[in-house]
């Protein structure tokens, strides 16, 4: 699990696709706290 503060939550999916997860081998789920 990665916790981070984001100024623009709309970009979290892009962040996951480009860095936090490798979509080829990993799934991801975004939870807003």
């Amino acid at each position: 699990m990665v916790e981070l503060e984001a100024e623009d939550p709309e970009r979290l999916a892009e962040l996951c696709e480009k860095l936090l997860a490798n979509p080829l081998i990993e799934d991801y789920e975004i939870q807003t706290l």
């Binding site: 860095l19 936090l20 490798n22 080829l24 081998i25």
Partner: protein, 209 residues
């Protein structure tokens, strides 16, 4: 032919790669990860180690380094790029090679001499990794086989990590980018038992001819 060997924080095989390149062709220099300038360099090695501490995933952060931006341009121009171990992981993360490297099937770090086969010839070079299990979707694997992009396989019974179809190394479609999990740079001196690694560097040299 002049080689550039990238050096990230956490790289640990760049000096051996530098030595191997110098034995293979006579000239090589290190390229710091913040450096975008590859002018004068004919071929690039992305070396083994633990770039940026392997944080997030092996190669996930290194792919965004300034040097890798330059490597992507270098590859797009059809010039040779060789990724070894962590370098292979970086090239996959960067999208310069297909597939991904997963944790070894046995969940243990392996360190041993392995036999590879490529185009009917065999090579004996060392492997040392914890995340070396090559994986790609079945349709991608089929496409790689059909297009001849499977550059190296572990010899029968030698697969140390559970890699799909015994794949040890793959190339891109153009053939100028090559990723390999075992370490040819550690097999260039008879003192260490094998000089078969030199053939991997010479293979990339052939791209320029």
């Amino acid at each position: 032919m002049i080689w550039g060997v990238l050096q990230f924080p956490g790289s640990c095989d760049e000096r051996d790669a530098l030595y191997a390149c110098m034995i293979a062709t006579g000239e090589a220099r290190l390229v710091w990860h913040e450096d975008r300038d590859l002018s004068g360099i004919d071929a690039v090695v992305v070396p083994g180690g633990f770039s940026y501490g392997d944080y997030l995933r092996a190669g996930a952060i290194a792919r965004f380094s300034p040097a890798m931006e330059a490597v992507a341009e270098h590859a797009a121009a059809g010039k040779p790029v060789l990724g070894i171990c962590n370098g292979f992981q970086v090239l996959c993360e960067a999208g310069l090679l297909p597939g991904a490297l997963l944790r070894n099937e046995g969940m243990r770090f392996v360190c041993r001499q392995v036999e590879l086969v490529a185009d009917g010839e065999s090579l004996s070079i060392p492997a040392k990794h914890g995340e070396g299990r090559y994986w790609a979707p079945e349709e991608t694997l089929d496409a790689l086989e059909e297009s001849g992009q499977v550059a190296y396989r572990y010899a029968p019974g030698q697969n140390p990590n559970g890699s799909a179809r015994d794949i040890a190394g793959v190339a891109n479609e153009a053939g100028n980018v090559l990723g390999l999990m075992p370490h040819p740079e550690h097999a260039v001196d008879p003192l260490t038992g094998s000089t078969d690694g030199l053939r991997v560097f010479q293979r990339l040299e052939g791209v320029l001819r």
